[in-house]
């Protein structure tokens, strides 16, 4: 059985726990054991801590990495933002000995130490690389007859310099295709959903980022958007509500890849508690079940 330390992050468990439930169901079906990371904290979020105090950013992240290292397991995350922070800090700590020394000076006061022995992966990578895609296909009991647009999320494109930035997005596309959905191209897949810019300029974030995507997704005839990032989910869902203040009405369901896989594996929508969503994902799932 494939085993990973599971990093849930903040947004999934405290805002969209249906993704947590769906991932548990999916992992169980495909034989992936996700071990809880006891005492974990925010990854930490990549904007405030990194910009204000790099040592704090590295130390908090190193503590999380050390928790996985204590378990002797690589770390898997379901969140694109956590993925970026943890991958990036892991690289810095592994390759910059002075940063590693400074961070471990702090950690050792609390009986912790990070040796740089683990790897960090997004759940999409784990499913694609560590679990045979054929094995995932075998679990699909119901092919979904809907048309979806994919939003990969900016951090999904992060790769070491010179590497193929489409590596993880292509994995996500393959995994989505397994469910039987029709993936439609809408031309703005690479555009950010606007979540980070909400911190600085709400109108810009909604009108110059999210709205452009929603418009094209709707025009392309998608029934839903499939995402792999909870922050993007929040932006798509809350953003559609907020856009009503600007006189724009959209109600496109924003479903996480894990939820789509779980539904395709035959998990009933009521078991996934899709009511946590702020967009009509539950209605979409019920429609899919009725097809």
């Amino acid at each position: 059985m494939v085993r990973y330390a599971s990093f849930l992050g903040c947004q999934i468990p405290m805002r969209i726990p249906s993704i947590e439930i769906a991932s548990q169901k999916v992992f169980e079906k495909i034989g992936l054991e996700a071990i809880d990371l006891l005492g974990y904290s925010c990854c930490p979020e990549p904007v405030i801590s990194r910009l204000l105090d790099k040592t704090a950013w590295l130390a908090i992240s190193a503590r999380n990495l050390a928790l996985a290292e204590e378990l002797g397991l690589d770390l898997m995350t379901l969140c694109n933002g956590c993925y970026e922070t943890l991958v990036e800090t892991n690289e810095i700590l592994k390759h910059e000995s002075e940063e590693m020394r400074r961070v471990n000076e702090i950690l050792k006061q609390y009986g912790k130490q990070y040796a740089g022995k683990i790897e960090v992966k997004h759940a999409v990578e784990v499913l694609y690389e560590d679990i045979d895609i054929q094995k995932i296909k075998e679990q699909v009991v119901k092919l979904q007859k809907i048309r979806v647009a994919l939003h990969y999320g900016c951090h999904m494109y992060r790769e070491p310099a010179g590497e193929d930035i489409m590596r993880k997005p292509n994995m996500m596309k393959e995994l989505t295709r397994v469910t039987g959905v029709e993936i439609i191209d809408y031309g703005l897949e690479r555009l950010c959903c606007g979540y980070p810019s909400m911190q600085a300029d709400e109108e810009f974030s909604l009108k110059q980022r999210l709205l452009l995507k929603l418009r094209r997704i709707k025009e392309a005839g998608a029934d839903a958007v499939v995402v792999s990032c909870p922050a993007c989910t929040i932006q798509f869902e809350i953003g559609q509500v907020m856009l009503r203040h600007y006189g724009v009405q959209y109600s496109i369901p924003c479903i996480n890849l894990m939820e789509l896989l779980a539904l395709s594996f035959g998990v009933p929508s009521k078991d996934l508690h899709l009511e946590f969503h702020k967009s009509p994902v539950l209605q979409l799932a019920q429609k899919m079940e009725a097809m």
Binding site: M14, G39, I60, Q109, M198
Partner: protein
Amino acid sequence: MVSENEIITYLKQELDKDLIETSKPRERRVFVRIKPTALRKAVNALKKQYPTVRFMTLSTVDHGLDFEFLHHFHVDGKVVTLRSVKHKEDNTLESIVDLIPAANFIEREVADLFGVKLVNHPQPQHLILTTDWPDDKRPLRKPLEGELPPQARPTAEALISMSCVAPVSAFMQKKREEAGLPRAPPFAFTDEKVMQEFQGIIKDTNLSKKVGYDWEKKRLRYK
């Protein structure tokens, strides 16, 4: 002639733990960072050791969350600056006029321009502002704010106080239970000892200071 190093050594000895750090950025220039409560002690120490010491002036910087007071002295051809930093919520400056009469006007000027209350000043009236000048509008005083833009403040506060940047509400914990999940995942905040460890790591860096987090009140010092 007394050297910069001798001045530093002497003040270290006199102020002991009240002295935070010293620096000597160039020839004839000495900075001595002291606890604000030790200002008078430091001035007395300078007067005792160097009878010809001369008070030059007082500079004040409003850093948003803190006031930095810089008392400059001329000591035997060197400029020695006593640097003390106070939270703006305190909003006071201890007067040294009884020790250094020449500090009278500059302390009143600082009080006028920054709205700082002088403690034990013999004449705490306005010096350069009119007597009817409103207390809440001071020419050089900035709002009580840290470096974070308003939208980023809840995130910073939640990170430090809860180890989680998403809102941790009783409502969501109940909904999680109803959905068959534990009330919260194994976050640091679910275990007091682990939380102490997490917050200890933050205290060992400059993050909480930079964002202006109040550890006693468990929130940012500004909204």
